[in-house]
Symmetry: C2
């Protein structure tokens, strides 16, 4: 394996960019085995964590284009993992929500993602992983506060 | 600012992917002010760190397509930052090398990149930054050992 330029390896942004790209690639490969993409998982997770949402709110939460969200919801609906229902508080609003099958598939996807995390961080011991997780969480909070739309 | 799904924020791969994307975006924005792209900086850094290289070796080191490397070298040559010379050890081989102007612009780009690192990691104190840098370096080494072509 050729070495990367040492002057770039000194840059944290370079390390994060390289590792982040590989983390994304691993997740995409894993999801592709189920003919899913990253956004399917994000939509399932958002509906699980936040409860039923109208499409516009779901798009805003994930920083996605509303038309992309409609497409992802259509695909998840066709698989029986999401259903559209009327908001009981305002029957003109159509909300998306997880079905039991959607809940189950998300649990599987999260378990697989945790296994991918284990592989990605294999050289770190449990204390170092907790350390890294804490540092990354603070950096992401900061990045999102600076550029809410971009992340 | 809306919160991201907590079940995703538990995943290190998700944090790394999100932060890495923003790190890359920041670098691209910064380089675009000079009408440069990420690969221009990588090529300048490789020629600085490894010395003169033939195009094929340079492409292999950076995991780039040789035809993309030729394009980047042409652009850097037109700016007077790179020059092509015959390899003194084998005059049939054409090597690319930095000019003094290329050396100077790389020093500026690296200084700007370090300033971007400061902004990206603003919430961390110096000891935490060193900690993060050490952890990320080990993770990248591991990722590259597992997938030499992909990173």
């Amino acid at each position: 394996m050729e070495s990367l330029p040492p002057s770039l390896l000194e840059l944290d942004a370079y390390l994060l960019s390289k590792i982040g790209k590989d983390a994304r690639r691993r997740a995409a490969v894993r999801l592709a085995e189920r003919e899913l993409r990253l956004w399917h998982m994000a939509v399932l997770a958002a509906l699980e964590d936040f409860g039923p949402l109208v499409q516009r709110e779901l798009a805003a939460r994930l920083g996605l284009d509303p038309s992309d969200v409609v497409k992802v919801l259509d695909e998840l609906t066709a698989r029986g993992q999401v259903e559209r229902t009327r908001d009981p508080a305002d029957r003109r609003r159509v909300q998306a929500r997880l079905t039991p099958a959607g809940h189950a598939v998300l649990a599987e996807l999260l378990a697989e993602a945790r296994a991918t995390d284990e592989n990605l961080l294999a050289p770190l011991d449990p204390a170092e992983r907790r350390q890294l997780h804490g540092l990354l969480t603070r950096v992401l909070d900061h990045v999102r506060a600076e550029n809410p739309g971009a992340v």
